[in-house]
Symmetry: C3
Subunit: 275 residues, 3 copies
């Protein structure tokens, strides 16, 4: 939409926003928009992007916006954790680097658990891995009908994170959550909506227009009332979610640092490199 | 249906029912029916109706009926809290009156949490506010396809009650619950059914006939068995629900007594009066 | 499918499987399949079958298979608890026998709660009673479109078991769970899927082929990763589920041993015998 273009035209230079390299963060009409901006990498989340999202969420929680939106630039919402984080690392240092990454991801997930205002995902295209698992912590999830939802953890030797081992069974029941999280079944936007992970699906052609029109209307509601209502709904779960986050992270640490997992990831990357 | 008409023809005079002004309460075929009876006010719940529903639920919990039904007379199920409760109150007394209302509403919600028999909502038309939020405490919810479900709290400066901040995310997942409870999205009966808030939707033309036929069959099941099964399913949550009720009430008290909320309600009422 | 036929052709003689009279247990392609095998009795679960399933689950939890499947031989998945367990019992001994049965069922349900690998139900036809209530403890539930899901407890003077009083409201919300568990509403496979009890429904004509193709692919995923992920998702609930199991069993014990319940079951059986 035109207002979006214009907001990208003046990227918050007058707002004391930190300078981001992997994000475009803009704020207008009561909405702070955090846009993942590595379109040529399908918005894969590298270590820098984890850190910048943490900063952007902290800034958004304190700015004068009413709601905060996460979305992706380009065709993808996000392809998840950037596994090439590890490709240029000397073998002896991989495990140390993996461990530090897990600590960072745990902090990153914690920021979503604690975020005090309504947090909205505008899923413009396919979402993979942690870009999917985190959705259980959003207050609204709008998806283009081009979006898909995929968590192929097991074949990489990995386990669910982002509190999805807790939020997904609550949202969709354990049998649908398990096929998705453990067996890697990919959901269409319609399926994800029928199962409660997505709030509403829009045709891709009108997605941006319809979603932003609605969000601008929502952002006119009284800011303080929305914030308190979100907290009434969410705070009861906060302690539980933090403990789930710690537990998932610790299970991953036990696994990711194993040789099997490192090999599975390396294998995956080398196969992909050959395509 | 004819049996309903006839039950309204002999309003329980021989059953030591209290005399109600805002309700019609009848009991036959093992079913105690509590019908909201302010059709010209869209069955808005004024302070007297809160008190009479409390009495009617207490009587129903002890009578020899098998199931208890709540429904509305006329086109509406209920338009929720009667905001005109406050219009004739001198400004200096509004906050005292609001505080007492909140205590009454908390007691009212507690009666639904504790109700020991199967409790069924027959949603004959649109439901608003507390008439919606309470539905998470019913054991079955049947709706006419004319019914809608609307909780426009935020624009009135209000927050979710009726334990909906807890029951709705459990029933429909947090992202659908949030759009409804915080952003005031109105659901159709079909949407509410797809999301688990409503058990089944019937065409309005055959609604009363189909629903009462089914309920009469259900009321023939052994009363004591139904009561114990309901308690096996529900008692585990009772303590939690009471604490949610207290918490929601206390958040509302912090807000409703603020000048902003009083002004928002007054504004809403004066706009409506001008129509 | 042909591989299934062949697996039944060599029923695990070389695998030190215990000899079962009510089951056929086979293991190949990383899948241990436990097939209820009383097709002329609609796979009703008699006391021996309860005991043999306990043994088969214990063996499967320790064998080298990746996933474990429960299914039925013939037209039915299972018609549930075999009420004729009690028909040849002298009246004076019925209550003692019922009490022992309840202890056995409690142990049986506990095995499903504790099962450490992905556990999949392949619901080939109608399911009744405990064959339905247990489904909330499975990790995936595939159903033929011929399957139905029916828990007619109340008219037999019985109450929900298999942890369904806890798992069903979590999966489908309390209002849909109550109509099913308390009022005995029978669900089609499509309804059970829309409500999250069933993961996916397949046309009966291609059911076996599609399901086993998919399961064989799933069984190629790394066994240890699947097992840990299941535990991350499920272990958090284990303690709660065991306490629900004990509670449901104790409520049933209070009821089943009553003369009313014994009479209701006897009545049901004598009516059925006359057909």
């Amino acid at each position: 939409s035109s207002s979006e273009s214009s907001s990208q035209g003046k990227p918050g230079a007058d707002r004391e926003q930190p300078r981001y390299e992997t994000l475009v963060v803009t704020s207008e009409d009561g909405i702070t928009k955090i846009m993942l901006n590595r379109p040529t990498k399908k918005n894969a989340v590298n270590l820098q992007m984890y850190q910048e999202i943490i900063l952007a969420l902290k800034a958004a929680s304190q700015d004068d916006s009413t709601i905060t939106v996460l979305t992706g630039n380009g065709d993808y919402y996000s392809s998840g954790n950037d596994l090439t984080n590890f490709t240029n690392t000397p073998p002896g240092e991989i495990q140390e680097k993996a461990k530090n990454s897990l600590i960072l991801v745990r902090e990153f997930v914690g920021c979503f658990i604690d975020f005090p205002k309504p947090l909205i995902a505008v899923v413009n295209g396919p979402a993979v891995g942690i870009a999917v698992t985190l959705l259980g912590l959003f207050d609204i999830v709008y998806a283009s009908d081009r979006a898909t939802f995929h968590t192929p953890f097991s074949r990489l030797g990995l386990h669910p994170e982002g509190c999805s081992s807790y939020t997904f069974p609550k949202i969709m029941g354990p049998t649908k959550a398990t096929e998705m999280l453990i067996f890697g079944k990919k959901l269409t936007a319609e399926e994800a909506c029928a199962q409660g992970l997505v709030t509403e699906v829009f045709p891709d052609r009108t997605f941006q227009k319809e979603v932003w029109t609605r969000l601008k209307a929502y952002a006119k509601l009284p800011s303080n009332v929305l914030r308190i209502s979100k907290q009434v709904i969410r705070n009861r779960e906060k302690e539980k979610l933090h403990s789930v986050n710690v537990e998932e992270s610790s299970v991953l640490q036990g696994t990711v640092l194993s040789d099997e997992a490192v090999n599975a990831v390396m294998n995956f990357l080398s196969k992909r490199a050959k395509l």
